[in-house]
Symmetry: C2
Subunit: 274 residues, 2 copies
Amino acid sequence: MELIKCNKVFDGEQRKYRHYSDTLKSEMTFSLYLPASEEPLPLVWWLSGLTCNDDNFSQKGGFQKYAAELGLAVVMPDTSPRGESVADSQDWDLGQGAGFYLDATEEPWRENYQMASYILGELSQIVKSLIPDFSGKEAVMGHSMGGHGALVLGLKAEERFSSISAFAPILTPSDVPWGQKAFRHYLGQDEKKWQEWDATALLSQTEKAPAILVSQGDQDEFLTEQLVSTKFLTVSENQPEVRYELQSGYDHSYYFIATFIEEHLKFHYQHLTN
Amino acid sequence: MELIKCNKVFDGEQRKYRHYSDTLKSEMTFSLYLPASEEPLPLVWWLSGLTCNDDNFSQKGGFQKYAAELGLAVVMPDTSPRGESVADSQDWDLGQGAGFYLDATEEPWRENYQMASYILGELSQIVKSLIPDFSGKEAVMGHSMGGHGALVLGLKAEERFSSISAFAPILTPSDVPWGQKAFRHYLGQDEKKWQEWDATALLSQTEKAPAILVSQGDQDEFLTEQLVSTKFLTVSENQPEVRYELQSGYDHSYYFIATFIEEHLKFHYQHLTN
């Protein structure tokens, strides 16, 4: 593993690493923010959206100020396996940059597209070894495809994450074009198997949901087709820990994220230090 | 003039415009942040560095939170004229993306490279017409080449700007490779003419300097060759309004800017509302 970049920001270090992942059979990069705090650090996962890599949030998210103030380590994985030997498609919403944070079962994807196992397993071990004094507590958050990822991984590994949050997430991937396309290719035609990676389906099977915060801009250009909330809101009606906030005038961009990242990190902090 | 993008951020609007500049004889873009405040708005100019355009600061500067809180409009011009009919070079530090905020006198540059006149004249008029209730007060700031630009334009139009600030500026362009190359091409061989566009030379001719704040990271990779401060510090010794702050561990990146932008905007706010 190699540290390829390190920038001081808000007294802490924004680091970027390169490593070979055995799980993904691919060279990967990831970014990690370590605040200067000498207290034990909880770890927050940030999962990015379609076409992104680990740089988008570190450069445009404006989160470091709050991570520094609250004393949170934040890790940003890439959004898929990468490289010439890794399966890909011509489309920006399938293949490299579009891993959907699941473990693929179908050809030609299953050899490399094991993002859920990578994040919950191999990368977790690496990242925890890089935090000088890890508090043992974790939270997960993300944007769009990464909001789907945060909800799904957070609900699947519920014992592990104190809280989950998402900006403009794909809430019901089984019902919308982005999710259906990804699931058909990565998981196959059997739609029953899709439910395992669908946040709304997982939430409907949960008796007592963990603390979840969802922020959604009402001027988001993908809201009505890809980020539909109807089923999710129904399923979460009797879940007192689930909060869905519609923000007036905001779109799908990182400007939206930058505006509400303080609220999200404070939400996680509260649960991580409880 | 055309509004080509508008994103809500921290309750305000991050806008991007395209227009044809008569001064530059070139299609130009610029960005403008307007906070939601209903008070009269002062205007802060941000001048970016080499290779940048008007997007870098708007996406990576993390300034909108403070501009919103303080009630400041912020305008971000591009760093040079643009387009196929505009003179350029193969080098990233000369030509398009490297206008140096001056008015060129030499061929082939003088036809388009009139950035000082564009910013102080044509663009000022346009921007002021876009601010619903302009307070009449202005400040100027920038990074690297844009820090040089902020100091030079701020000192040349001293009656106009309440305060000037710069991150990692080229303080003595006449003495360092970036500045010497640009000045030789844009202004010609006569080094006496360079003094008109050299912040340290201008400051040495000023009896009572305006309020100036300079922030410089001590791990900046360009510090010892391009951002040399010796002469500037000597010249500003008897200038009580000039502050030069060396920040330990910070480099030349936008992470440095994001960390100290709150301090800079509060510095300007104090002078803009005095």
